[in-house]
């Protein structure tokens, strides 16, 4: 009980997708990837109030969005985020609530929430992650995500705004763990592409996924997050989908890397750089926290060009076997 008689409870109990729980003002979505576009389409089809603008929008358009919407979702590639965050810093204030879907770290090695805290006056920040993908959203197939924030309003309001009969939103209080999960999922998706490219089977993939989830759990806990985040929707949930998603960028890059193919196009190079940044950031974090991280180390070496796919595999298979 708060010392103030008019204080509100920390978290209200709400039905998963009751219309009364949805905010009256539209949800603003800044779209930088197919996921954002699919989210807008899904919510619009389900009669949810949504206002969208592209991640490449000019200042006036962003300002219009920020005026109309107090609750915002940023869907962007890691490379798009720094200029977007700076632009948002000009049009947002302390009353906004903001969550992102960015997978991986930015050029400065910061997580998206850290960057948004630096570049904007917004304090109520969160992250959306999990198995939800553009194809499932567009096809109205049941899917799910987790909204994680230390601020209960971000979780409650986004859960209300995003929940539909086909999209189940779970609540989380571990945004750092979810952001780390997003980064590691990208790396493991890349590694799954390598495995597929080398012609290995499901057993190899299962081995990689399970060890990666354990590794993620250790890193998350060492960084101050919650142990169950790794095996939740943002970790294992996302991995089970993305590890088979041969259409995903990280997976395709892994397949190409298994054949020693370089990415000559600008998008491929940017995506490879983003993966490498994430791998290095996670490796640095695991070293700082004195956590063993074989998968992160291996992928970082492969992306950095210091190991071949064969070296990586041989190295991972040679690690002393521990209890499962």
């Amino acid at each position: 009980v708060s010392a103030n008689p008019s204080a509100q409870p920390a978290a209200a109990t709400r039905s998963p997708h009751s219309p009364q729980a949805a905010p009256a003002r539209p949800l603003g979505i800044i779209t930088g990837t197919p996921l954002g576009l699919a989210l807008v389409a899904r919510l619009t089809a389900d009669d949810r109030p949504v206002q969208a603008c592209p991640a490449t929008a000019g200042a006036a358009e962003l300002e219009g969005l920020a005026r109309a919407c107090e609750l915002l979702v940023i869907d962007a590639e890691p490379g798009q985020l720094p200029p977007l965050a700076r632009a948002l810093g000009e049009v947002t204030d302390g009353n906004h609530r903001l969550a992102h879907t960015v997978r991986g770290v930015t050029a400065d090695g910061l997580t998206a929430i850290e960057l948004l805290r630096q570049e904007t006056p917004v304090r109520r920040l969160g992250v959306i992650a999990g198995p939800l993908g553009a194809a499932d959203l567009l096809a109205a197939r049941p899917t799910a995500a987790v909204v994680a924030s230390r601020h209960p309003e971000v979780v409650d309001e986004l859960a209300a705004a995003l929940s539909t009969p086909r999209l189940r939103i779970y609540r989380g209080r571990d945004p750092l763990g979810v952001e780390l999960s997003q980064g590691l999922v990208e790396l493991v998706t890349f590694a799954c592409g390598v495995i597929a490219g080398l012609g290995f089977g499901e057993a190899t993939r299962a081995l990689l996924i399970v060890r990666a989830v354990r590794e993620l759990g250790r890193i998350v806990v060492a960084a101050g997050g919650e142990p169950q985040t790794a095996s939740g929707l943002a970790g294992l949930g996302a991995l089970l989908v993305r590890a088979h998603d041969s259409g995903g960028a990280a997976y395709r890059l892994g397949q190409a890397a298994s054949h020693g193919q370089a990415n000559d196009d600008e998008t491929g190079r940017a995506q490879t750089e983003a993966l490498l940044r994430t791998a290095r950031a996670l490796r640095e974090l695991s070293r700082q926290k004195k956590v063993t991280a074989h998968v992160v180390d291996g992928v970082a070496d492969l992306l950095g060009g210091t190991k071949t796919p064969a070296d990586l595999l041989a190295g991972l298979m040679a690690i002393p076997v521990l209890d499962d």
Partner: protein, 532 residues
């Protein structure tokens, strides 16, 4: 604070009203908050505490609780319990609230430092009365004091200092007076009111009593409500956000802010009552830095025994022995620039820095309106989960301010180098094995001087990264001088010195004390890396 006595009855009444109203509304909505449950908890705790009444508790305290217990025993209804609750709450609020005496303040702020200096440094008598104010010479006060004076006039200051010693309270009071900042209210453990001398001044200088023995919910509600009501009325306050003295000697990293969090609640309440022009609250981080700590031996022993939590109130440490306090103060007063008090840049309750006129600015320096952080549907509103999170985030930022404002003295650098040496001499040993290993450990003074200089350089370089600053008195010293300074500081105060010179070597004579002083650099990775 000068009007505190006029406000006191109204503050006690308002605290009582709020807590009773809160209990009424909670009892009406939640079965586990029923009045009988809450009062039963109180009676259970209080009966145990008051089994043997001794000062500062009174027979009246026991009678009140016994009456409450009898009413609960015969199954009294809310109509009968409510007045008893109100009486109990009023009693707690009245006990918590201190008083303020202008004459006591004048004595404490003007006469006491000089008298203390005279008493503790009689050698200065030979130099005439010019040296009466030598305490001022020993304490360096840094920070943008002009800005803080402006902010004190415009809003409510919430001063949050680091906490190493029971001497921190008089030190911060002295520093505020020297900085020409107004007197402030502050919470002090009720155990400190048992000494006649400290009690005389604390009762009259705006201190409010925090009885740490009372761990039940109702008392904490009264305490929080008192703090909030005081802040709403614009009374500047001091809170030690670490909650208790740092046992390990490390700079506090995990701040709960606790009562300081009521500043945000007070700000929102003022916004609701007065609109956008409501009086704002400004958090001012302060680091209190000394080369020696009065209670170091007891604190590190407590830390090592891992009973810090159980011995939250230490009543038998060096602070309780007047002779030790006198020796300690004398030791400090014979050292130039021995104490550094550093005021950090003020922040609003959301962690934004504040400018001279009280405006908030985000990390890029852009002006922001703090009211926007607490709006719901266009109006300021309390929200427990949100406000707790704002306060937690503020605690993280203030902890960083503490690191940046920490002064590193020769004692810290030399202790760090000596303990790193010990670690290398006993590879694979854990901290307890290192502390208790029977073999005497020493190091050649030239070798130590070289290591000390490397640590000093790392500290100087780390200042730009917010890892703390080299203390002024250490800034012009080379390795040998730093060692001499540290050994001179260690000698003559603690039961035995942490380290001492024997010929060309320095011997680690009290490893626990060395660990305590070394821990001041526990956060400083570069200082570790230069010796690894």
């Amino acid at each position: 604070m000068f009007h505190f006595n006029d406000l006191r009855p109204e503050i006690v009444a308002e605290v009582t009203r709020r807590v009773v109203q809160l209990r009424q509304s909670a009892a009406a909505t939640r079965i586990e908050e029923q009045l009988a449950y809450v009062l039963n908890e109180l009676v259970m705790h209080e009966t145990k505490r008051l089994r043997h009444v001794k000062p500062p508790d009174t027979e009246e305290d026991r009678r009140r609780v016994q009456e409450l217990g009898r009413a609960l025993g015969r199954g009294a209804g809310d109509d009968e319990l409510m007045p008893l609750l109100e009486r109990q709450v009023r009693s707690y609020a009245d006990d918590i609230a201190g008083t303020f005496s202008v004459s006591a303040y004048k004595v404490a702020s003007q006469v006491l430092p000089s008298v203390l200096s005279l008493l503790m440094t009689p050698q200065n008598l030979s130099q005439g009365l010019l040296h009466l104010g030598s305490l001022q010479n020993r304490v360096r006060i840094e920070g943008d004091l002009v800005q803080l004076r402006h902010l004190a006039a415009k809003g409510t200051l919430v001063v949050v200092p680091t906490h190493l010693s029971n001497l921190d309270s008089p030190l911060i009071a002295f520093a505020l007076e020297q900085a020409q900042l107004p007197p402030m209210t502050y919470g002090a453990g009720k155990n400190l009111f048992t000494s006649p001398l400290t009690s005389f001044f604390m009762r009259r200088l705006g201190a409010y009593k925090v009885d740490r023995r009372l761990k039940f919910g109702l008392y904490k509600e009264v305490l929080k409500s008192f703090s909030q009501v005081v802040l709403e009325r614009g009374l500047h306050s001091i809170f030690f956000p670490g909650g208790t003295r740092s046992r390990s000697g490390a700079v506090e990293r995990k701040l709960k802010l606790g009562l300081a969090g009521t500043a945000l609640t007070a700000y929102i309440e003022n916004l609701k009552q007065h609109g956008p022009d409501a009086r704002r609250c400004y958090f001012v981080p302060v680091t209190l830095n000394m080369p020696l700590v009065l209670e170091a031996e007891t604190l590190i022993a407590d830390h090592l025994e891992e009973v810090g939590k159980n011995r939250y109130i230490i009543e038998d440490d060096e602070f309780s022995r007047l002779g030790r306090v006198a020796t300690f103060v004398k030791k400090l007063l014979t050292m130039d620039a021995a104490i550094e008090v550093r005021f950090g840049q003020a922040r609003d309750p959301f962690g934004n820095h504040v400018d001279e006129v009280g405006g908030s600015h985000d990390r890029r320096g852009h002006a922001v309106d703090p009211m926007r952080y607490v709006l719901r549907h266009g109006a300021p509103e309390h929200h427990r989960g949100r406000d707790e999170e704002y306060t937690r985030e503020l605690g993280t930022l203030i902890a960083d301010d503490f690191l940046a404002g920490t002064s590193v003295f020769a004692t810290h650098i030399v202790a760090h180098a000596l303990m790193q040496h010990l670690e290398k001499q006993l590879p694979g040993a854990d901290v307890f094995q290192r502390l208790r290993h029977p073999r005497e450990q020493s190091i050649h003074v030239m070798d130590l001087a070289s290591r000390v200089e490397r640590v000093r350089d790392a500290v100087m370089a780390g200042a730009a990264r917010g890892l703390g600053k080299l203390a002024e008195r250490a800034s012009s010293q080379d390795g040998r001088a730093l060692i001499d300074d540290a050994l001179a500081s260690f000698a003559g105060y603690h039961t035995r010195p942490a380290a001492e010179r024997r010929g060309d070597t320095v011997v680690l004579t009290d490893r626990e004390l060395l660990l305590y002083y070394k821990n001041r650099l526990a956060h400083h990775r570069p200082a570790h890396e230069v010796l690894s």
